[in-house]
Symmetry: C2
DNA sequence: GCGGACAAGATTGCGAACAATCTTCCGAAG
DNA sequence: CTTCGGAAGATTGTTCGCAATCTTGTCCGC
């Protein structure tokens, strides 16, 4: 992660994390003075943090009416997954070319951990492994531009974070798909890596569009 | 284009346009008071505009050292084109599904205009048509998420705007590629549309990595 | 002549106060 | 009872001012 360069950056990261962790819920109004008190900083700092969050689509700023955590619709969620799909397919392809042996070992270890969690029925742990695996692939790709955009897209998906994992029968599928991605990268086969990642996120998209209800608490 | 909702947004758009048009050159220092005087707004407005531009990677903000127009390296330019490639391939695919007859007619007309400019040796006009065609395809795709990201990426490419067009023998190739994209969309063939766009931007990428020198004034 | 401390100027970061705008609540008319 | 109007409160947008930090120029020792 990028280190924090000042109190302003710290506030930005904190707000982002608060939204990501669900402490600030979608559609919740973000009042500047309240946030300033909560984060122990001035209103100006909160303000610029909100501008930044607005620019990467995590909150929506309406003039004279303040900021709210963006509530992404089902349709937008599908758009976001589609976009992530093509971007992560790109990183997967690049990772197949660039990944070091060390990085590939790391991916394999993460995969094993995921397998263990899955066998133990620990879906939350599996989900964490999932995130770690994607992060590892992105890091191995050394593609800064794609990495930046993907990070922005992930932040918008809070509401749907665990939805796909909770669908009965989905986790084993998911595990197979991830395994295929890692093997393609390990084999240094860009085309296969890209195809496997696309296949995986097409699965996520299908699962998502099928569960157009049932909020997660 | 999104309409301007206030003086703050106006300043953001103006700065963006200034950078895009080359009036503020890469690596140029952006002093807040100077810009404020130039745009006839307060320093705070300039400040938030700079924060926004910083967030979408067009300027780089160094704490206590101000803002500069980001100078993108050749390597970054390649990354950006690769990223645009996959994103625009997505919009191209969606456009093949979603485009109305009216929109397809519009694309065809733009293509004809490009052909005329090319025949007349008007490379600048051709380049404008190029931009219009890509914009038309993105609009026809109705893919807001991809559209937003592509718009951000385009803004970073100022330095390389005309470079590929100026390569001898490239324009006719480029025209053929664009023609193929439009025909695939007109035929409502998503796979072909995606493939054609990928082919096109692979051409741009190759041309770009081959011209790793020769600045454009 | 050259390099490093030091001071002066320039610029950004931030807090406080004020103005502009929106929201809410209350009352009165229909 | 509903709806319109307006005033009070809340919240955002902007300006001002000052402290913190960086940059530049100068002077002194070597």
């Amino acid at each position: 992660m990028a280190s924090v360069r000042g109190p302003a950056d710290a506030a930005y990261e904190q707000l982002r994390s608060l939204i990501f962790r669900g402490e600030l819920q979608p559609n919740e109004r973000l009042v500047e003075v309240d946030l300033a008190a909560r984060l122990r900083v001035g209103r100006a700092v909160v303000r610029t943090a909100l501008v930044r969050l607005g620019q990467d689509g995590i909150v929506v700023l309406t003039p004279h009416r303040g900021a709210r955590v963006k509530l992404v619709s089902e349709a937008e969620a599908v758009e976001i997954v589609q976009t992530r799909a093509v971007l992560e397919a790109l990183t997967s392809r690049q990772a197949a070319v660039q990944a070091t042996t060390r990085e590939i070992d790391g991916l394999r270890r993460t995969l094993e951990r995921m397998s263990a969690r899955l066998a133990a029925g620990d879906l939350l742990g599996y989900s964490e492994g999932n995130a770690a695996l994607h992060a590892g692939i992105i890091a191995a790709s050394r593609h800064q531009t794609a990495a930046r955009l993907i990070s922005g897209l992930r932040a918008q998906m809070v509401r749907f974070q665990f939805r796909t994992i909770l669908v009965p029968g989905r986790p084993p599928e998911s595990y197979q798909e991830h395994s295929a991605i890692v093997e393609a990268i390990a084999a240094h086969d860009p085309d296969a890596a890209e195809a496997a990642m696309r296949h995986h996120l097409r699965g996520v998209e299908r699962t998502l569009s099928r569960t157009n209800r049932a909020e997660v608490p």
